[in-house]
């Protein structure tokens, strides 16, 4: 549980010595409660205070990193159960599996397929994050070679799903790339020793919360530090229930023994991997291993992840600019709206539904909706006039008629004053656009100088 400023204050020396840089102990306590200061700023704090306050400041769910450099994947480090309470920070990582016993050609094809699971959506790149190398051969030397070539071919960090002997050779071969060691339960202790020795992250897999509790303890006893917990769920319902347990143990109970990012191997024979993956994205799955490399399955999951892990306080923005919709011509209508993604999607959808080809201008208002942007002074006659002359639309159409959202009809005068454009006030609601666009007189969009 988070401590209040008063709880913290009681643990401080209460001398107001200012050595921490704050005017009083209470002020310092308030800063700590807000997460803006830590107890080590106070040179006079007791050991008890340091311990209590240090533990309270540590993230309830520890951070685990797999991989290095630009392709590094961060798991965990979450602070809330629901995204509206603050945000979810570290998106569910996706690993797609490849077996180590494929023919060289099939192995290379599979890696290419995994690498191509990368898509551009609303200005962001969404991709599969890791390659999960399944040891089927049982051959330590062959497994290590496969790990090295998977790393070279994809550049993605690896999840090494293998018994202890192949794990040891693979860790030798690709340990520098910080793979996640993922042994079967029977090889946990041997693998934990490798993880401890090479300072690598370790996936601990054991059935259920009780099983995990014991297995995590033995992994820690063997010296492994960065752990990921896999409750070895066999059904969708178990997987979601276990994920909820693990996250609640971390956030609500601050249970250090079980507070680890949760991982799930949804490969064969797991029933309904797609259903489980879609539920585990919003419900606390930190790492999911999938057997499918079908973009028709992966793109929807990556899109769902992009949605769920969007910071509710910082909505996705659309790139400002000129968006042609349909087969536009020089006499197509021109509409303007703002770069809040929902606004854009709604207006775009309604323009498409009208089947009238049109240009949609997206104004840069820091991702606000039309009314909010107007109220904040970001969607004004001045800014719109500036956009009209600077965005290139004047070279694309012959006319100078702008359709303005009905909500901001009052900007019409100023726009006409400051630009060579004439304003048509559009509907108040985007949903009224289809009939509106269809009833526009074509003459309104004749070339301006005709």
């Amino acid at each position: 549980m988070a401590l209040t400023a008063l709880d913290i204050y009681k643990l401080l020396p209460k001398t107001n010595c200012k050595d921490c840089g704050f005017p009083t102990c209470l002020a310092f306590a308030m800063q700590m409660a807000a997460g803006k200061a830590t107890v080590d700023l106070c040179p006079h704090a007791s050991e008890e205070a340091k311990e209590t306050l240090g533990a309270a400041a540590a993230p309830p769910l520890p951070k685990v990193t797999i991989g290095t450099g630009g392709s590094e994947v961060v798991l965990g480090d979450e602070t809330v159960l629901f995204r509206h309470e603050k945000t979810f920070y570290h998106p569910t990582a996706f690993a797609v599996s490849v077996a180590d016993d494929l023919s060289p050609a099939a192995f290379a094809d599979r890696l290419r397929a995994i690498r191509s699971l990368s898509f551009e959506r609303v200005g962001q790149r969404i991709s599969v994050d890791l390659v999960a190398l399944r040891c089927v051969s049982g051959d330590p030397a062959g497994y290590a070679r496969a790990a090295a070539s998977a790393l070279t071919a994809t550049g993605l960090p690896l999840v090494l799903l293998a018994p202890a002997a192949p794990l040891a050779t693979a860790a030798e071969a690709v340990g520098g790339s910080r793979p996640l060691l993922a042994p079967p339960h029977s090889d946990l202790e041997a693998a934990a020793k490798i993880a401890a020795e090479r300072k690598l992250p370790l996936r601990v897999r054991a059935r259920g919360i009780e099983g995990l509790s014991a297995a995590l303890r033995s992994a820690r006893a063997a010296g492994a530090k960065e752990l990921v917990a896999d409750p070895a769920a066999e059904s969708l319902a178990d997987a979601v229930a276990d994920a909820i347990h693990i996250r609640r143990l971390a956030i609500l109970a601050r249970n250090r023994d079980l507070a680890y990012p949760a991982a799930f191997d949804l490969g064969d024979p797991f029933p309904d991997p797609f259903g489980a993956a879609a539920l585990l994205i919003p419900r606390y799955g930190s790492l999911l291993v999938l057997d499918t490399a079908d973009p028709a399955e992966i793109l929807p999951l990556l899109t769902l992840r992009q949605n769920v892990f969007t910071d509710p306080q910082r909505p996705i923005q659309v790139e400002p600019g000129v968006y042609p919709i349909g087969n536009v011509t020089a006499s197509s209508p021109v509409l303007i709206t703002t770069n809040f993604s929902l606004t854009y999607f709604t207006v775009r959808g309604d323009v498409e539904a009208s089947r009238v080809p049109a240009y949609l201008l997206i104004a840069d208002v820091d991702g606000m909706s039309v009314l909010t942007a107007w109220a904040a002074g970001k969607f004004t006659g001045e800014s719109i006039a500036k956009m009209l002359s600077g965005c290139g639309i004047e070279e694309k159409v012959g006319h100078r008629t702008l359709i303005l959202p009905g909500m901001v009809a009052r900007l019409s005068g100023r726009i006409e004053e400051l630009s060579s454009w004439r304003v048509l006030v559009g509907p108040q609601e985007s949903s009224a656009l289809p009939p509106y666009l269809r009833r526009l007189p074509p003459a309104a969009f004749d070339p301006a100088n005709a």
């Binding site: 629901f82 609640r248 539920l279 973009p295 028709a296 929807p300 899109t303 949903s431």
Partner: protein, 306 residues
């Protein structure tokens, strides 16, 4: 050693609501739970129910839907029968979109007649949706309410039309879907307005507006979670079953565009798009899901919380 598992217990309970069926049909009851979806604690007597949408208007279907229901489009009665007896839908959402001036402009009397026909053809519960044109719907719903030979739910009542909708529903014993545009305050407000008119709360389900996957779905998920948390925590006006209509999933380019080769097979992709939208709604707490693809019924029913 036994691990003490933390629970989230709540003082409130979602009001149970029943979508009535004809004799021989199975009514759908949702609500009644005092716990979050998929949570291990509490009780949830009524798992979510998955229904299918039947539209009265003509439209160009995305490839996945064309393959699955294309042969029945244009024959809403046959489609309705198949949804219930062939694909396992537990209720129907009949959209009278064909009455919209832009998609056929069928008369109000035609719309009411179709409602009568469908209700005669299937015994399952039915929710009737309007065409989206304010003026037409204002005439359509009173006619539908009068024509329906058994109780249905009318979709939807919002701040602009709730008196008319509540009047039509009250006069003939129907239920209402209360609608709000992804806004928890407006969701509460419309339920308050209906309560002020004396509309029975056990005949109201809430539709907080469902964005499609990739196009605002996260807003819906958070609103549904907040509605459920507020309702379970004691806000009676929000302790109501939530309906998520997945229709917007099919408006996504990714669900219907066959031209993008790197996105994979368009048929499977479209189906997964609707399924992922529905699964996220289930995780957030939806009680009623309306889908369009027959495959979604099995997938979503199978993955629903119990």
């Amino acid at each position: 050693m036994t691990v003490a598992l933390p629970e989230q217990r709540f003082p409130g309970r979602v009001l149970p609501v029943t979508l009535p069926a004809a004799p021989g049909g199975i009514p759908v009851t949702v609500g009644g739970q005092n716990a979050l979806p998929y949570a291990p604690e509490g009780d949830r007597p009524n798992p979510p129910a998955v229904g299918m949408e039947v539209r009265s208007g003509a439209e160009e279907l995305p490839p996945s839907l064309e393959a699955a229901i294309g042969s029945l489009s244009g024959d809403p009665v046959a489609l309705a029968r198949r949804c219930i007896s062939g694909w396992g839908a537990r209720f129907l959402f009949l959209s009278l979109d064909g009455c919209h001036p832009d998609s056929g402009g069928k008369s109000v009397a035609d719309g009411a007649a179709l409602v009568r026909e469908i209700l005669g053809a299937v015994p399952a519960p039915v929710i009737v949706g309007g065409c989206g044109d304010e003026d037409v719907d204002a005439r359509l719903f009173p006619a539908v309410a009068e024509a329906a030979p058994r109780p249905v739910f009318l979709s939807y009542a919002e701040e602009k039309n709730y008196r008319l909708m509540a009047g039509a529903a009250l006069a003939y014993g129907h239920g209402l879907v209360s609608w709000s545009p992804i806004d928890i305050n407006m969701a509460k407000q419309i339920n308050l307005l209906l309560a002020d008119l004396g509309f029975p709360p056990e005949r109201v389900v809430m539709d907080p507006l469902t964005g499609g996957l990739g196009y605002g779905l996260e807003y819906t998920c958070s609103i549904v979670e907040r509605i459920r948390l507020a309702g379970l925590s004691g806000d009676a006006m929000l302790a109501r079953p939530v309906l998520c209509h997945l229709g917007d999933a099919w408006k996504a380019r990714e669900a219907s565009d066959a031209s993008e080769g790197s996105w994979g097979d368009v048929d499977r992709r479209g189906r997964r798009w609707e399924e992922a939208t529905g699964l996220a709604c289930l995780a957030a707490g939806a009680d009623l899901l309306v889908c369009r693809h027959p495959g979604s019924v099995a997938r979503l029913s199978g993955a629903a919380w119990r």
